[in-house]
């Protein structure tokens, strides 16, 4: 996916200006920025929920090959976990039977075997997140856009889900663009990290390659010798990006 000079504006001053970034096939790319810098807006533009003011987006993928994982799960409360997972398939013309079978397979794969009949209300936060993940993965996406999907989970649940997600996308060679405000998470999961400056008129900086080999264990990755220096560098660059506009305004 290639994004060039993307500018997003709601009304008045642009939230995001001239953002460019690349996600090469099979790569895990993160975009780190402070809250309100326009990360969600960027992803919404990439998926077509938000019309950008200017710029171009090239994915080379069909609509159903791009999945999006929202900040909150957005499961339909009146559908069971299984029906929620099967939904995307039936909306795209798969028969209900086949869709439900496929959904069951993905529920099993994500450790939710036996929970297919539960309604979202009867699932824990982590389980709901896994259902939302299955809902995306069942579509066999080539690219997944993730909007801080793990932010609401507590540390242990989060570590487990993140590990499973990394294993799955590595195995299926799915490209990922993850937006997050969590620098550690970004480095430990990604092949490349972009920084987003404080908005309004937020911009994307150059990218930083993450020299930690794959397959990768997200927890172990934090102990890799390359982690700390990179973290240090990104942190100081990010601090500068965040503080700079304020310093100018002052």
């Amino acid at each position: 996916m290639r994004v060039r000079n993307l500018t997003i504006s709601y009304s008045g001053e642009p939230v995001l200006e001239g953002a460019s970034l690349d996600v090469d096939e099979g790569r895990f790319v993160s975009l780190v920025g402070p809250s309100g810098s326009g990360k969600s807006s960027l992803l919404r533009a990439l998926i077509g929920l938000q019309k950008p003011l200017a710029g171009s987006i090239k994915t080379g993928l069909s609509r159903s090959e791009i999945g999006i994982l929202f900040q909150d799960d957005a499961l339909l409360p009146w559908k069971t976990a299984r029906d929620n997972v099967a939904l995307g398939l039936t909306l795209n013309g798969t028969t209900r039977r086949a869709a439900l079978d496929e959904a069951e397979t993905w529920l099993d794969r994500l450790g939710l075997g036996g929970l297919g009949d539960r309604f979202p209300r009867k699932l824990s936060g982590g389980q709901r997140k896994r259902v939302a993940l299955a809902q995306v993965l069942v579509m066999k996406p080539r690219l997944i856009l993730m909007d801080e999907p793990f932010a609401s989970l507590d540390a242990i649940v989060r570590a487990r889900i993140v590990r499973d997600v990394v294993a799955l996308v590595e195995r299926e060679k799915i490209s990922v663009l993850l937006v997050t405000h969590d620098l550690e998470e970004a480095i430990s999961l990604s092949d490349a990290v972009y920084l987003l400056s404080q908005g309004p008129r937020a911009h994307v900086t150059q990218h930083y390659a993450v020299p930690i080999p794959r397959p990768r264990d997200p927890v172990r990755a934090r102990m890799h010798p390359a982690f700390a220096p990179l973290y240090e560098k990104l942190w100081s660059d990010l601090s500068r990006e965040v503080d700079y506009p304020r310093a100018v305004a002052a």
């Binding site: 929920l49 929202f70 957005a74 339909l76 009146w78 939904l87 909306l91 795209n92």
Partner: protein
């Protein structure tokens, strides 16, 4: 103080009710109550038995049920339609909302005499009153519900490749159904209120009519028997509506 086991709340309530009835009955038998004003439970009971015994209650029950269920059904359908249209077409909302707000603010039963003039003393005027009570209620629950529909669910369907029809089927319809079911019990109560008040005002049949008949003949036992009957009817319908709600909203 010892904690009460909440599972047996109904036993305790029933027990207290039984004691109250027994005291009331005893007071009646001891000639401490004037049966003209306060007939004893057994007198009310025998009035009830009499109503059912000679079968003359059935046409009245049928009349009230027809009016209430007719008004309920019509009110739900029209309430949903108006609510959906108003939520989707701002121009219509501009027209309907103030009318509905006004209708909501007044005690709508004051329309009963007007409906008698318009629709006669037959079934239609009672259906109309039930209808207006229910329709306004349902309108507001649908109207506000659709405007508060969860954007995230809409976006989820869109990003999964769903079209407008899919949105209606998977998000709008279930949401509307949930709001309507949420007010179903109140609507049932309203429907019976409408039917009975309408019959009370002017009718030749129905529980409301029997009530006004009992009043005009100063028959307190009959009156109380009918009140008990109306109570029982509404409670039964309530529990049916409650079950339906519980089943259909089992996801919530």
């Amino acid at each position: 103080m010892t904690a009460l086991d909440p599972r047996y709340a109904w036993v305790r309530r029933l027990l207290v009710l039984a004691i109250l009835l027994a005291v009331w009955e005893a007071a009646g038998r001891a000639n401490m109550l004037n049966p003209l004003y306060a007939p004893s439970p057994s007198q009310i009971g025998s009035a009830l038995v009499e109503l059912f015994g000679d079968g003359r209650i059935w046409p009245h029950l049928e009349a009230t049920f027809s009016a209430a269920l007719g008004g309920l059904l019509l009110g739900i359908i029209v309430g949903i339609l108006l609510g959906v249209v108003a939520a989707l077409v701002p121009f219509i909302a501009e027209l309907i909302e103030p009318v509905m707000t006004l209708l909501n603010a007044i005690p709508r039963v004051v329309l009963a005499p007007l409906f008698v003039i318009w629709f006669g003393i037959g079934l239609s005027s009672k259906v109309a009153l039930s209808f207006i009570l229910v329709a306004v209620l349902i309108f507001f629950s649908v109207f506000t519900g659709i405007r508060q529909i969860d954007r995230r669910l809409v976006e989820r369907i869109v990003t999964l490749g769903g079209d407008r029809a899919a949105l209606v089927r998977h998000v709008y319809l279930p949401s509307v159904a949930a709001w309507v079911l949420g007010s179903l019990k109140v609507a049932v109560g309203f429907a019976f209120t409408g039917a009975c008040v309408g019959e009370f005002v002017a009718a030749s049949r129905g529980l409301g009519y029997l009530l006004s008949f009992a009043q005009s003949t100063y028959n307190a036992a009959l009156m109380m028997a009918i009140i008990v009957l109306i109570l029982a009817v509404v409670l039964i319908i309530f529990s049916l509506a409650g079950r339906l709600e519980k089943h259909l909203l089992r996801w919530s």
